[in-house]
């Protein structure tokens, strides 16, 4: 709560005032006791009345004395300082029922936690900004004045251009066919069928590949309403593994200024999976490792390796 130095309250006088209040209370109760007891038994009526009045007067004097003492002390106590540093939340701390409504302590904890979170987030963003993680050519944080005029941004490309690029890649390889659709807005969704081995659903964002899901040739890639199912995983372990490798590949092939070259490289890499079940691992020579065929394709040489055998 408030610091002792800020209070401006004379604590010594404060405690004395509290004891003075207690003294005053006891003298007032003595007055009423005396009245309640009434007159004591003495020989004559006069004697009784005199004794009663004297006793009563004594008690009233002591009440007066105590009251004066209390007034003197209360003048010494002084006022608490006005600059309340806690403002409204400090008023919460005055609530005495700590068990049922521990509002103030919870408030303090929440505040400390959010301060710590802000601090850590600042540290993390500083560290992350050192390593550029953007695959597109847009530059964030450059003010409009400094940005050179007419800078082409690869994130906003006309859909016709995307269609053209994809259809050209479709004609590149005979065993790979690509079907493009736009069921959800301007993002293209490709269904790539590779021979009779697998199907890949590629979700794009203009000409950048966002996600790739690999499924078996005999698995269903459509939902009940006929739309492409872009969320459910394959039922087979081997294709779940290949999906992970495809995600690695789309992060590996990066060229911010020429996204169509990136898509071409990705499709070339994907095409090497046409011999998924026929090619043995280049390192150990076997077909199976823990029940999986060689699912890794090297990014440069396109050789087949088991996931655990790759260099």
């Amino acid at each position: 709560m408030a610091d002792v130095l800020n209070v401006g309250v004379n604590l010594e006088a404060f405690s004395q005032a509290i004891s003075a209040i207690q003294a005053l209370r006891s003298s007032v109760s003595r007055v009423f006791d005396c009245l309640k007891d009434g007159m004591r038994n003495k020989e004559t009526l006069e004697g009784r009345e005199k004794a009663f009045i004297a006793h009563f007067q004594d008690n009233l004097h002591s009440v007066n004395r105590d009251l004066n003492e209390l007034e003197r002390l209360s003048n010494l106590v002084g006022k608490p300082s006005e600059n309340h540093p806690l403002h409204n939340s400090g008023l919460l701390s005055l609530d005495p029922v700590q068990d049922k409504t521990p509002l103030y302590s919870q408030l303090l904890q929440a505040y400390k936690w959010s301060n710590k979170l802000q601090y850590h987030a600042g540290l993390a963003s500083g560290l992350l900004n050192q390593q550029s993680l953007k695959r597109s050519a847009n530059q964030m944080g450059v003010s409009a004045k400094r940005r050179p005029k007419a800078q082409p941004t690869t994130l906003v490309l006309p859909p016709q251009y995307v269609d053209d690029v994809i259809s050209r890649i479709d004609r590149m390889f005979p065993e790979m066919s690509i079907h493009l659709s736009r069921p959800n807005g301007t993002s293209a969704m490709l269904l790539v069928t590779l021979g009779k081995v697998l199907k890949v659903i590629v979700v794009m964002r203009s000409l950048f590949i966002d996600r790739a899901i690999v499924k078996g040739y005999n698995e269903n890639v459509y939902m009940e309403d006929g739309k492409l199912d872009i969320w459910s995983k394959s039922n087979y372990h081997v294709f779940q593994k290949v999906t992970d490798h495809a995600t690695t590949a789309l992060l590996h092939y990066q060229l911010p200024q020429m996204p169509d070259v990136v898509v071409r490289s990705f499709m070339t890499w994907l095409r090497s999976y046409v011999k998924l079940f026929q090619a043995p691992c280049q390192r150990c020579g076997k077909f199976l490792q823990e029940g999986l065929p060689p699912t890794w394709r090297d990014f440069r040489t396109l050789e087949a390796f088991h996931d655990t055998c790759r260099q």
Binding site: K196, G216, Y236, V238, F239, Q278, P280, K286, F287, G291
Partner: protein, 212 residues
């Protein structure tokens, strides 16, 4: 339906059918396979009734009606070298109505029952082949789910078979040679089972009524 290979495991020397099955299942479990229920494949033989044969005295053809617990709502009907029909279970009732054309061969029902195991993407079924009350042999079926073209993954299947069958690994099934790039289907599996059952029948030299 992935590529499937059905083969027969010879009974080990000096052991019974039951013990050999147990040996196999223990090897599978050591490999890391998980038990996933049971399976049953059965086969009944019918031969074309004499009254429908032409004057040339051509011999009747044998028809096999099979069921597979993997496809509980289907019934398979196939001729030896001919087409395979996939129908629903009401086909059995239809066969009763076709009594005039197809007669059931006596004591011909043969079936295999056993447990299913799942290892990664492989489905292994080890079953005891029984004809009537007696156990005649052991059938081993391995299915590799992800692949649908037979010729693609034979080497892969072979490697897996070798890992738990050892020296009893079979050669490539004949159905693989027939269809080069066609998608594998359940009918091919039933053809393999039919060939296996015929082989087991002939092995024991028990004459099945109606066989030529």
């Amino acid at each position: 339906m992935g590529v499937t290979c059905v083969s027969q495991m010879p009974v080990a020397e000096g052991k019974s059918v039951q013990q050999t099955v147990e040996l196999l299942t223990r090897k599978l479990e050591m490999l890391g396979a998980e038990k996933q229920g049971t399976f049953c494949v059965d086969c009944e033989t019918y031969h074309t009734a004499a009254s429908t044969l032409g004057n040339q005295g051509q011999s009747g053809k044998l028809m096999y009606v099979m069921h597979n617990s993997e496809y509980p709502l289907s019934c398979f009907a196939l001729f030896e070298n001919g087409p395979c029909l996939i129908a629903d279970t009401n086909f059995d009732v239809l066969m009763v109505k076709l009594k005039g054309f197809f007669q059931s061969a006596k004591a011909s029902k043969i079936e295999t029952r056993g447990t299913r195991y799942q290892y990664c993407d492989f489905l292994v079924k080890v079953g005891t082949v029984t004809m009537g009350p007696s156990a005649r042999g052991i059938s081993v079926e391995v299915e590799y789910g992800p692949c649908v073209v037979a010729t693609d993954c034979w080497s892969l299947l072979l490697e897996f078979l070798q890992s738990f069958l050892g020296s009893h690994t079979p050669g490539a099934p004949s159905v693989f040679g027939n269809r080069h790039d066609a998608v594998y289907g359940p009918a091919d599996t039933m053809v393999q089972y039919m060939e296996l059952f015929n082989k087991i029948r002939k092995q024991q030299q028990v004459p099945v009524a109606g066989i030529r």
